[in-house]
């Protein structure tokens, strides 16, 4: 049946149905079903979040100061970002302010996550959609070395270096035990890289795996560990003591130096490995510009990384903020988290219950009540689903909307908004990359654009880390070592009722937490998460979400091997634990 969605897409579920479940190389459990037309072009897409834990329910009745730890466990991949959002929500509700140093340290931690998460996403979750590992075995290491040196000054680009890895890989494949490379799509016609480019990328897959563990040492310094570093309502838990008695037990010169050197190495790695790889790989896929979905129409960013502590105004936020609707880049609309008409969640097609399923609820009044029931036309049994029915409820993800609009969030959304706002630090790198790839601006609205924006943002974030680390040092130099404000630590000092919200730009996009506090306990807690936006099922009006929209119109070379589906879905960096929480 052909359907015209209100947000401008045509779906047709009459053709052959393909199911990908589990959709791997993501966080959590995701199922994607598509219909193909006679030419194997995707003409309908259904994405379903297939896990739910009920963290919002579990938070009720608890101490608001503990909420960061619970919400941090929503996801270990974007570890820390929920915690930061949570402490901001509690601080917003209770009117707690944080010292400047705490703001710098929080920013460094958030940016560190961006750098780490983007790097790991590209190399370890996404690269195999573009890179054929098997083909790398056929590469000439000398030619690979020449290729690598032509795109980057990275010192580890000798023929021997690539040869070592190739030998190791060959033996690995020869052993017959293929580990994570088993049953994959090697040789698929949608792979376009030369053997040399493949070898270079696989080598960097391995190198990035070694390096990523270094980046997060920044979390270990300021938060005690990674994954899941520690946070604090009112500031940060790590005290600063650079040269006093007992400095060895606090943030001291050695700790600052450690962070500083990691920042330098991160900038270097991103600029000399990640970005050149993106550019090189991108050049092979210039012709594969599918996956636009919502990106060319409606995108949103809350903004993040406040320059000044406690100032969440658009001016203070270094990450762009705003909403673009219907592709109108000339107008960036303002977002208000407290406006009951702006952000709302719907559950008509989600496995939850609302008093009125056609109405959306603002998160302060949000309800999370599970209700697992399948649409009338699903195939299989209740506990063995063969095909979902998108006409009924079909996902554990709610459907968030901004003034009724489905929007895409994430690095690409942020870059589009930054571009539309004419912010040089976002616009220029994007234009430079497009120029290098000889692509028009419209090429940004694609799977490739999403993947490229993530890489650019990784570079941006690495430099921002440097900025805030320098700022932190400057403050300490000026004699300011405060890291926490405890004047409202004691619950006795709180009002009997309060409500607030906190937001961040998580690696995958706009993240918000809304809290209501009553009798010093959490009365209601609601999270609306990046992958809730992107992975959203249909809403009562039939608007489709970003994942679903992005798949429509993509041709599949071999319907038995869903490489193109993986490629586009992965470009969002889906996180299902986040989306449903």
């Amino acid at each position: 049946m052909r359907v015209q969605t209100p947000n401008g897409f045509t779906t047709d579920n009459s053709g052959k149905r393909i199911v990908v479940d589990p959709l791997t190389r993501i966080e959590g459990h995701l199922r994607v079903e598509v219909n193909l037309d006679a030419d194997n072009v995707i003409c309908n897409a259904v994405s379903s979040g297939t896990m739910w834990r009920g963290i919002e329910t579990i938070l009720r009745g608890r101490d608001p100061r503990d909420a960061w730890a619970f919400t941090e466990r929503i996801c270990g991949v974007c570890t820390g970002t929920h915690a930061l959002t949570s402490v901001r929500a509690v601080e917003n509700a209770l009117g707690i302010t944080i010292p400047e140093n705490a703001n710098s340290i929080r920013n460094i931690m958030q940016l560190c996550l961006q750098v780490h998460d983007h790097l790991v996403h590209f190399y370890h979750l996404h690269a195999l959609d573009w890179v054929d590992v098997f083909s790398a075995l056929k590469a000439d290491p000398k030619a690979t070395s020449r290729l690598a040196q032509s795109v980057s000054p990275w010192p580890r680009s000798s023929p021997g270096y690539f040869k070592d890895l190739q030998i190791r890989l060959t033996k690995f494949f020869d052993s017959g035990q293929l580990g994570p490379f088993k049953n994959a799509y090697w040789g698929h016609p949608a792979y376009k890289l030369s053997p040399e480019a493949n070898l270079m990328a696989v080598t960097h897959y391995s190198e990035a795996l070694d390096f990523q563990k270094e980046i997060v040492k920044i979390h270990a310094v300021y938060g005690g560990k990674n994954p899941h570093p520690n946070w604090l309502v009112g500031g940060v838990p790590c005290a600063i003591n650079v040269d006093g008695n007992g400095a060895i037990g606090a943030i001291n010169m050695e700790r600052l130096n450690l962070v500083s050197s990691i920042i330098d190495r991160s900038i270097e790695f991103v600029e000399q490995v990640y970005l050149p790889d993106i550019e090189l790989i991108g050049s092979f896929y210039r012709g594969w510009l599918y996956g636009c979905g919502l990106s060319g129409r409606s995108v949103m960013s809350y903004g993040d990384v406040p320059e000044n502590a406690n100032d969440y105004s658009t001016k203070s936020l270094r990450v762009p903020r705003g909403v673009i609707l219907n592709g109108n880049l000339r107008e960036v609309l303002p977002v208000d988290h407290g406006d009951p008409d702006q952000i709302q969640e719907f559950v008509a097609h989600s496995w939850y219950k609302y008093p009125d399923e056609f109405r959306g609820l603002h998160p302060w009044d949000g309800i999370t009540e599970p209700n697992f029931e399948l649409g009338a036309n699903f195939k299989g049994t209740r506990t063995d689903i063969k095909e979902l029915d998108e006409g009924g409820k079909y996902s554990w993800i709610k459907a968030p909307r901004w003034r009724g609009n489905a929007v895409e969030v994430g690095p690409l959304a942020r870059y589009i908004i930054g571009y539309a706002q004419d912010k040089a630090e976002f616009k220029e790198p994007a234009e430079r990359l497009l120029k290098a790839l000889k692509l028009p601006v419209t090429a940004l609205f694609s799977t490739l654009g999403r993947t490229a924006a993530r890489a650019l943002e990784c570079q941006w974030a690495a430099h921002q880390m440097r900025h805030f680390q320098d700022k932190l040092v400057a403050h300490i130099k000026a004699g300011d070592t405060a890291t926490a404000d405890v004047s409202k630590w004691n619950p006795e000092s709180w009002p009997m009722e309060a409500k607030g919200y906190g937001f961040t730009e998580a690696p995958r996009g706009a993240l918000g937490h809304w809290i209501k506090i009553k009798d010093r306990k959490i009365d209601n807690y609601q999270c609306v998460v990046p992958t809730t936006w992107n992975g959203s099922p249909r809403d009562p009006k039939g608007n489709i979400g970003a994942f679903e929209a992005s798949l429509i119109g993509t041709p599949m070379a071999d319907p038995g091997k869903p490489l193109e589906i993986l490629r586009t879905i992965h470009s969002f960096d889906p996180c299902l634990a986040c989306s449903t929480h």
Partner: protein, 369 residues
């Protein structure tokens, strides 16, 4: 691509690693596991003769943080573990295959490596709603777990989710998320708790099994003794401040800057069995306490439900009341104290009136006589 399964030793020899370096690796591994130099020889023999052990890593309800932690391992590097020490044939987070190509690996492994593969579980299965709070391949995850457990050699329960239930099992546990040992009762289960566990602890446990070909010695609660037999508190470098009576009284106070003990800030180091204070995190850079926050007991059973992380005395939640031991105790003792005082007063009053009555009676009898 042959069927031949290859040994760890042959893999690394063909990678151009010399025998000398190989033996050096073995003794380093032995040392990092805290074993005697003699054990290095055992490791060498094991690695020379065994094919890489297939590992099936499955995810239930979780946050993938245990996987994230695993890939932070510095020794061994996770790439060395995955390429040369084990055969990670299934792991939905990093595997290249998806959908039915991924599912096929499970079926194949069950048949080909019956009783010879390690099943590593991150997260846990929910039992409510017929298990459909965690759907995998259209079916409840718990089904997949049960079927893969059946033919496995041993099960590793990664993290607090698989070991104890963790955050999704915190009150009121809306999905009825269950730790692995509540669902699989007929297989040895190694619990590696922590939210998440330390990277090097994870890789050490895997390599212990593959190199020694046996399961590590477990404590009463199923945790490997080598990492879980002592508390954070026992090896905490702030312990001297605890013994001295020097505590952080408030965040960011003088004591905090001097690195005093975090006991009064609710540190659960005294009741938490984990290796953080000894092994530390991220290649030894730090651990929670070193960066100023108390341990909140993330490797302990039900640590989410013991009241606020910042309370020294944790909350008791029973019969609708919620208070800590001192609050309950003071209330009870206070009530009893009041009752005692009241009782004493009434007794005294009664005695007085009786005495007076007694006097009157005496007088009366005198008159009578």
């Amino acid at each position: 691509m042959g069927e031949a399964t290859e040994t760890f030793y042959s893999v690394i020899r063909r990678q151009g690693i010399t025998r000398r370096n190989f033996l050096k690796f073995c003794s380093l591994t032995a040392a990092s596991l805290g074993l005697s130099p003699l054990a290095a020889n055992d490791i060498a023999i094991a690695l020379e003769t065994k094919p890489r052990v297939p590992v099936i890593w499955m995810h239930g309800l979780e946050c993938t943080c245990c996987s994230e932690s695993f890939i932070r391992s510095a020794h061994p590097l996770v790439k060395d573990a995955v390429l040369s020490m084990i055969s990670l044939d299934y792991d939905d987070t990093i595997m290249a295959a998806a959908g039915h190509q991924a599912e096929a690996i499970l079926t194949e492994t069950r048949a080909k490596y019956k009783d010879r593969y390690v099943l590593a579980i991150e997260g846990n299965p929910p039992l409510n709603e017929d298990g459909m709070f965690c759907i995998d391949g259209g079916k409840p995850f718990v089904e997949k777990l049960r079927s893969m457990a059946e033919d496995s050699m041993t099960i590793i329960a990664w993290g607090s989710c698989a070991s104890w239930g963790c955050v999704q099992a915190a009150r009121p546990n809306p999905t009825q998320a269950m730790p692995i040992d509540k669902v699989i009762t007929n297989k040895p289960i190694i619990k590696v708790p922590g939210c998440p566990p330390i990277a090097e602890v994870m890789t050490a446990i895997v390599t212990f099994i593959t190199t020694f070909g046996k399961l590590p010695e477990l404590d009463r609660q199923g945790r490997p003794k080598m990492f879980y037999s002592q508390r954070i508190h026992d090896k905490c470098y702030r312990r001297s401040h605890f013994d001295a009576g020097q505590f952080v009284e408030e965040w960011d106070d003088e004591s905090a800057r001097k690195g005093y003990c975090l006991y009064k800030m609710g540190c659960k180091g005294p009741t938490t069995y984990n290796a953080c204070s000894a092994v530390r995190w991220n290649g030894g850079v730090s651990f929670p306490i070193q960066s100023g926050h108390g341990c909140f007991g993330c490797s302990e059973d039900g640590f989410w439900d013991k009241g606020s992380f910042y309370d020294r005395l944790t909350t008791i939640k029973q019969f609708g009341i919620e208070a800590n031991a001192d609050q309950i105790g003071r209330a009870a003792a206070g009530a009893v104290g009041l009752a005692v005082a009241a009782h004493a007063a009434v007794t005294a009053a009664k005695r007085l009136t009786r005495k007076r009555e007694g006097v009157v009676q005496e007088k009366r009898s005198k008159v009578q006589s």
